[in-house]
């Protein structure tokens, strides 16, 4: 198992390295630098360029870039002096995270729950309802779902607030919309893995021991059916991150996603790349964590070092 974990970490580091390099290369391909302000004198410009090392030959810039990265410096905005990317992230990311983890939590828990229920009541009413919900969740994008839900629950019925503040209640709609796609996907996957597990022979053995249905589901079905679901939690997290870009716009959240879109419109490309890099790092780290969790849970990986066939 330790071997497995080390391998995954190593892999993640290589990937991060590749991403940073690609990003750097593309940034250099774009025109511009942070000090385009026409009001600036040439000397000041030169001084600043020198200070930030932007007049050095490209390979040296590369090393400086990588060095900066390791220390958490993701670069500067090209449009607004004195606005480093990392600062922007620090202020706006917490709001995104607040929505993101809630969405992740509810969608995975309920996704698993619904999936198991659908499988246990296969081809009866609850199964069809849950399948229907998952199809909707997968086919209706958040761009559509967001405004719809906001309108009906927020404006028409007035049950829930539409803009996001610090209150828990105000986060219900956006978090719900954000997690809907993941909920649908997880429920569907869980349903099919649970159905598969239920048809396995060891479930029959469990029945022959006289175990009750609850006990069988809890001790035998869940542990085995959940494995594939855990491995998609990583990519689901990535989807929630990208999804937050849309949700933050629809529900007017002052988070990183919203800011991200504005940098594109403003053509502040270095900021865009900086934020993208941050997202990429986030995603890779979460994939790594999921991989590690999987390695800890699956006994076949746990004990692969001990003697067996």
């Amino acid at each position: 198992m330790v071997k497995y974990i080390i391998k995954r970490i190593f892999f993640a580091i290589i990937t991060l390295f590749c991403i940073a390099t690609i990003t750097f290369a593309l940034m250099k391909a774009l025109p511009g630098d942070p000090f385009q302000n026409p009001k600036m004198t040439t000397q000041l410009r030169q001084a600043l360029l020198q200070k930030y090392g932007l007049d050095l030959p490209v390979p040296q810039q590369y090393f400086k870039y990588m060095n900066n990265l390791v220390h958490g410096d993701l670069g500067l905005s090209y449009k607004y002096v004195n606005r480093p990317v990392s600062q922007v992230i620090k202020t706006s990311f917490p709001k995104s995270f607040a929505l993101g983890w809630r969405a992740m939590a509810y969608s995975s828990i309920f996704g698993i729950l619904f999936g198991v229920i659908a499988a246990l009541k296969h081809q009866k009413a609850p199964d069809y309802i849950i399948i229907f919900i998952s199809i909707i969740g997968v086919s209706v994008p958040s761009i559509v779902m967001g405004p719809l839900l906001a309108y009906y629950f927020g404006v028409d019925l007035g049950w829930l607030p539409v803009t996001v503040t610090d209150s828990e209640v105000s986060m219900i709609l956006p978090a719900f919309t954000l997690g809907l796609g993941t909920l649908a996907f997880v429920a569907r996957l869980m349903r099919s893995t649970t159905l598969e597990v239920l048809s396995q022979d060891y479930i029959q053995t469990a029945k022959s021991k006289g175990l009750s249905t609850t006990k069988i589901v809890w001790s035998h079905v869940l542990r085995n059916a959940i494995m594939p679901v855990i491995s998609i939690l990583g990519p689901s997290f990535a989807a929630i991150i990208t999804g937050s870009i849309v949700i933050e716009n629809v529900f007017a959240v002052a988070g990183l996603g919203n800011y991200f879109v504005s940098t594109i419109i403003a053509q502040d490309y270095s900021m865009t790349m900086g934020i993208t890099l941050f997202y990429a790092i986030l995603i890779i780290v979460s994939l790594l964590l999921v991989d590690i969790t999987y390695g800890l849970i699956d006994p076949r990986l746990k004990i692969s070092s001990k003697g067996d066939e």
């Binding site: 060891y202 053995t205 469990a206 021991k209 006289g210």
Partner: protein
Amino acid sequence: MTYLKKKILEVKDLQVSFDTYAGEIQAVRGISFHLFEGETLAIVGESGCGKSVTAKSIMRLNPEPPARFKSGEIIFNGEDIVTKSKKEMMEIRGKNMGMIFQDPMTSLNPTMTIGKQIVEGLRSHKNNLSKEETHKIALDMLKLVQIPNAEKRFAEYPHQFSGGMRQRAMIAIALVSNPQLLIADEPTTALDVTIQAQILELMKDIQQKINTSIIMITHDLGVVANISHRVVVMYGGKIVEYADTNELYYNPKHPYTWGLLSSVPRVDIVKTGNKLSSIEGTPPDLFAPPIGCPFADRCEYSMKICREKMPPDFIISEGHGSACWLSHPAAPKVATPSLFIGLNETAQKRGEN
């Protein structure tokens, strides 16, 4: 030697069907047999003859839609299994009846330790055992099924066991609560021959120690000869012949049994033309089973009446019956194929009889 034996299980005219989209499959079409305490009964037959369904029906393990008890009784310990509720069955399973299955790899939960899977069986029924006591009993069980290094193996996972050891673990799981009846559904089919022999020896050994009654489902006549006291032969959802094991092997009366016995490859008997013989044809379709004897179309001795009327059980001798019109007193005399006459003589010469 006759002595008074207690009847553990009595199956009377059991009929089980499956309701599917395409219609009703009559898997078991009226069978009756019984089982005494401490004995092993083998149920033999081809795939699809209904033996697995019968075995599972005793424990009500067939999913109840689509399976349906059309009629009949299964009397276990004086009570009819067919009428029991789900809760009552859960009590009986594991405690009074245990079952082992064909493929030990897929029949064990890959993410749970063997020890836990044994203990689970104990803890699911009401008893006043503490955690330590259940642990000890489970450990003793592992030792009983002759798994070496039991303490270490207790905390291991199925994928760390070999095939034979897994099957032993299954036996431990099934017998941990000391059930009166053990149903074995083709337990040796997935194992190689040497391991097969070991498992059968183990089962006989345990039977002597704790007096379990065993129902052995198999299609392998070698296994039958090795372990069972009595045999029931099934075909097309019905019992075609039943007898004590020795009697069946040396004095079979049903053409299907003849076919089965003659298709066993034997080194000591030279067959005509040195060919492996097999029974031509395939078992009947249980959607629309024939009205007469199910074996008629494949039987070279079949007669007009065979296709028109289902043959009743003809008693050949005590404990030996054959459902075949050839056993009717008015039927033409058919000589048992030479194979067995020779067998009998050879056996007598060797003094086995």
